[in-house]
Structures are given as structure tokens and as C-alpha cells.
């Protein structure tokens, strides 16, 4: 084996990536060639230097910052999830942008504590005082979506702090002025009006079961 061929193989040789026969040939060549030995030594030194470089530590807030951005990303994907249930395309982007802005602060607050949000399951039992079924929270950590439905008609009435109006079903909702983190939901067709309140994002200790209903 000549010097040229040996030097081509020095990198894989130094990384143990040659066949046994090639390893032996390179080693035998280096036994009698000081130039290639030096070349090899330098490769080893560079590798050793790189192995020994310092490991700079990130700022303590990096993990938090990442999780905050993930929360934002997740909020947007939740919105897309909802929007995928057919919103007029030209409005979708505007809604998504507005909702993302409202989601960010809510989810960002939650992020350092384990990124929990409210759970949602949907009750099939009609609420006593309203003509529609409402969303109930049962688990600790699910995205905060609030919905109501009558029969097969489902209305999403609030999503991560963003009340919504469904004009096709004549339902509307708004933030309740008195109840913290609460919503008013109105379904005029059956003359129902409800106020839903929950301790949204404030407690991770226990599930919030149900929403107080006021006529």
C-alpha cells in the first residue's frame, strides 16, 4: 500500500471503519512511513480535541421557552382541529390568528406546571335547566374546549378563552362578566340561556366536574 492510498484510508482507519485486512495494511504501511504516522497522529489529535471541547450549558429558561413555544404550536393545531370541522376558508385564517393569540397566554402559563389544561368529555345527559347538553370536564389535562349540543347539532361555544358564535344554529356565547373564566351560552331556538363557569387552568389538583348552570 502506498502513501496516497493509506492517507485516503486514515479517516476510516481512525474510526475503526475498515476491514481487518485493510486495517492491517494501513498499520503495516505506517510502521515504515513516518509521514503517514504523523498524518494519523494529527487526525487522532483533532478527534481528541473535539471530544474534549466544553459543553456549554443553556440558560435555565431554555426548557421553559421550548415548552412555551410547543404550547403555542399545540394551540394552533387545536384550532386547526376545530377549524377542520368546516369553517369558511376565508375566515379560517383570521379566526386561527385571533384564537392563537388568545391561546398563547393561557397555555404559556400552564406550561411550566406540567402543561395541563382542562379535560373535556361530553355529557349525553341533558342539563336540568337548559335545553342543550354541555361540555363537562372530567380529567385534568385536555385542551380547554367548551361545547354544547342539541341532538346531533354541536356548537363549539368557547375555545381556550375565545367565545364563538355559530350563526347557522343561532347560538352565541360570550365571556360572562361576573363569573371568572366563565361563559354565557345562548340557544334561542329552545329559549335556553346558560352560564358556564370553570376554574380554567387554575388548579391541577383535582378535576373540575361540571359547570354551574344558571337560568
Amino acid at each position: 500500500m502506498n502513501c496516497r492510498r493509506t492517507r485516503e484510508l486514515l479517516t476510516p482507519y481512525s474510526d475503526g471503519r475498515l476491514t481487518g485486512v485493510q486495517m492491517l495494511e494501513v498499520a503495516q504501511h505506517m510502521d515504515r512511513c513516518a509521514g503517514c504516522r504523523d498524518e494519523y497522529r494529527v487526525i487522532q489529535e483533532v478527534k481528541a480535541l473535539l471530544r474534549a471541547v466544553s459543553r456549554p450549558q443553556p440558560a435555565g429558561a431554555l426548557e421553559y421557552e421550548i415548552r412555551k413555544r410547543i404550547a403555542t404550536e399545540e394551540a394552533i393545531s387545536q384550532i386547526n382541529l376545530c377549524l377542520s370541522f368546516s369553517v369558511r376558508p376565508q375566515r379560517a385564517k383570521r379566526i386561527a390568528t385571533a384564537m392563537a393569540l388568545s391561546c398563547i397566554s393561557v397555555l404559556a402559563v400552564a406550561a411550566p406546571f406540567g402543561a395541563g389544561t382542562l379535560a373535556l368529555t361530553y355529557s349525553n345527559q341533558a342539563e336540568k335547566n337548559s335545553g342543550f347538553n354541555v361540555a363537562r370536564s372530567r380529567h385534568q389535562e385536555l385542551p380547554p374546549m367548551f361545547g354544547a349540543y342539541e341532538g346531533n347539532n354541536f356548537s363549539l361555544f368557547a375555545f381556550a378563552g375565545m367565545p364563538m358564535t355559530d350563526t347557522s344554529r343561532h347560538t352565541s356565547s360570550s365571556r360572562h362578566s361576573d363569573v371568572q373564566s366563565g361563559y354565557d351560552f345562548m340557544a334561542p331556538r329552545n329559549q335556553s340561556y346558560g352560564t358556564f363557569a370553570s376554574q380554567e387552568l387554575t388548579s391541577f389538583n383535582g378535576p373540575q366536574l361540571g359547570f354551574p348552570i344558571h337560568r
Binding site: T11, R17, D38, E39, R41, V42, Q44, E45, V46, K47, A48, L49, L50, R51, A52, V53, S54, R55, P56, Q57, P58, A59, L62, E63, E65, I66, R67, R69, I70, E74, S77, L81, C82, F85, S86, V87, R88, R91, A98, A115, L120, T121, Y122, A135, E141, L142, P143, M145, G147, N152, F154, L156, M162, P163, M164, T165, D166, T167, S172, S173
Partner: protein
């Protein structure tokens, strides 16, 4: 603020989708916790400074989260993350018009001088684990890394700093094993030259 939404979803479909998202988020949070420091280290060696390293790390995780559905669970997550990071970094450089991008995936002409250049470093081969590096040398190495083209830098960082195998680097960088090998070969040579050059300049500066 009221907006119109025609929500035709069934409650079950929404709740099911939401449950899936939560599980996905939990899994991802654990991965962030586990890998963010490591990812930052690579990003730091790639970008050469703290602020850009944090940006690159954040962006890589966000991108990973966005495409988490495509992540093949039989792949190590960190390799997949570094692949995203590598794409981000290289693409970002390509977008910057002033960035100097040269292809070194061709034979390198060392002008016959390369053999004369040697590093003045401690005898690392004898006991590499115990080598203590001065801040100055660390800085020289970073400067030398910065001078490498992005593809080469990433290859060297993944293989020689992170200790990844040729196969892992090849998968992370979407290139062949042969390319990994040649980039390592020439990347190390270029590093050697640059570090020597910086040391020389330092000595001259001190002498003056």
C-alpha cells in the same frame, strides 16, 4: 369577540382527538426535558454563539413537534431531532444571501503543504479522556468550526463531538456513508489547519 364557526363535529370525535393530543404532548414534553441540553450543545457548536444556539434549538423542537406524527418510533428521537436541526441550519444558511457556501464534496487540494502543518496541543492520544482544554483552545476550535461549511461542520460535530456512528450521521444528514467519510476526512483536515493558524496568529500577536 364573536366569530362564526360552523362546527359539525361530534363531541366524541373532538374529545377523542383532544385526548390524542394530550398524550402526544406528554410524550413530547418528556423528550424536551431529556434532550434539550444535548440539542443545545450541538446547536452551540453549529452556530458558535449562545443566542443563535437557543433559537436553533427552539426551532428544531417546534418543528419536531409539528411533525411528531411522522416520527418513526423505531428511530432514536435525538437522531431525528438532529436531522431536523441540521436541515434547519443548512437551509437557514442557504437563505442568507451573504453566507459563504462552498461545496467541498470534491477532492481537496491541500497544495502539498498540508503535511507541514501540525497542531501544538497536548499529547491527547496518550490519555484523551483526561485532556483538559484551555478556554483559548476551546475558542480556537469554535472559530475553526465556524469556518467550515455547514454540511462539514454538522458532520464533524455529530461524529466527533457527539460521538455518533457513520450510520447515524448518514441518516441524520441524509447523505451516504461515503459522503460522511469524506466530509469527516476533509473537515478534520481543515480544522487542523485552522486551529494551527489561530495558534500561530496568537503566538505572533504575543511576540509583538
Amino acid at each position: 369577540m364573536a366569530e362564526m364557526i360552523d362546527a359539525a363535529a361530534t363531541p366524541q370525535s373532538l374529545a377523542g382527538a383532544a385526548q390524542g393530543q394530550v398524550e402526544r404532548r406528554h410524550e413530547f414534553d418528556r423528550l424536551v426535558q431529556r434532550y434539550h441540553k444535548h440539542a443545545y450543545n450541538i446547536a452551540y457548536r453549529m452556530t458558535g454563539n449562545h443566542a443563535d444556539a437557543e433559537d436553533l434549538t427552539q426551532e428544531a423542537f417546534v418543528r419536531a413537534f409539528r411533525f411528531f406524527g411522522n416520527y418513526r418510533r423505531d428511530w432514536p428521537f435525538d437522531n431525528w431531532l438532529y436531522k431536523i436541526m441540521s436541515n434547519l441550519f443548512v437551509d437557514d444558511l442557504r437563505r442568507k444571501p451573504k453566507a459563504r457556501l462552498q461545496s467541498l464534496d470534491q477532492p481537496l487540494d491541500m497544495g502539498g503543504r498540508s503535511d507541514d502543518v501540525f497542531l501544538e496541543i497536548p499529547d491527547a492520544a496518550s490519555n484523551p479522556e483526561r485532556m483538559v482544554m484551555s478556554d483559548e483552545l476551546d475558542e480556537h476550535i469554535q472559530r475553526a468550526l465556524n469556518s467550515l461549511p455547514a454540511d462539514f461542520r454538522m458532520t464533524v460535530v455529530l461524529a466527533d463531538i457527539e460521538g455518533m456512528s457513520y450510520e447515524e450521521v448518514s441518516a441524520a444528514m441524509r447523505c451516504s456513508l461515503g459522503t460522511v467519510r469524506s466530509r469527516l476526512h476533509r473537515g478534520r483536515k481543515l480544522l487542523r489547519q485552522k486551529i494551527s493558524q489561530f495558534q500561530m496568529e496568537r503566538k505572533l500577536a504575543e511576540a509583538n
